[in-house]
Symmetry: C2
Subunit: 164 residues, 2 copies
Amino acid sequence: MRTKGPRSGCAINATVEALGDPWSLIVLRDVIFGNRRSFRDLLTHSEEGIASNILSSRLRSLVEAGLLTKAEAVRGQRGSYSLTEAGIQTLPILVALGTWGLAHRDGTEELRVRVELLRDGGPELVDGLMDELRELHLGIPRPDPWAPRASAQLQAAYEAALNR
Amino acid sequence: MRTKGPRSGCAINATVEALGDPWSLIVLRDVIFGNRRSFRDLLTHSEEGIASNILSSRLRSLVEAGLLTKAEAVRGQRGSYSLTEAGIQTLPILVALGTWGLAHRDGTEELRVRVELLRDGGPELVDGLMDELRELHLGIPRPDPWAPRASAQLQAAYEAALNR
């Protein structure tokens, strides 16, 4: 990761520099959709088989870029990562990336179904999921605690696809 | 670029593998927003000072991934690149990336203003711009040729910011 300023004043470039590279986006995806919070969880459940040195460097970059925070390990507990508000706001980027992939690449049904839901659910579903992420990672209660959880819809769709 | 299949069946991963790396997104941005169609144009006008070997490799990757096509140079004319339909459909990804950058990074007013418009103009403006790109790159007439051009709005906002 470069420590100098960004290469230009363009907002797209700024994001591309912050998110760094493909693996950073994949790590964010696993934190957001898989709620994987520890190094070990991210490593052992990786669908793409991320290498431990790459995971380690990307987690460090994401913390430096202000997308994740790290709580150091304390007795009997592993170090864990949480999304920052800026990290939570990468969700629409992941949805846009996934929407393109659904249209232009093949994939596995159970890994596609959540992105399909988010693509078709519109801004409300994405906003609802961001509210849940704020609760989970930042301890900010959801604006309407009685509203149905976006994550429950996503999980149900995922499980239905697994059992198909 | 890997020639094997993708590392997983995930739609987000598929896109991340196709778009490859930060520079690929920057090249697409310059083709889409700057209508830079030749190697030389992309190289000499690069805000981020892309190196010629990187530009060359990323153009090749984007052609291989089906996002650009290349018309070879003929007498007196340079080789030029056109977006494919899949390339045009990366626009929402660029808008999502830019929207995040606007919120979480500083930038230069004249380079921010078009992304602000696209963020606030909603799906209609993005769709309108994609229709114009289809006309320009694929020769497909816009559905409503009398509709105001999204690009004219963007250009006017850009020039106003330059003169501010």
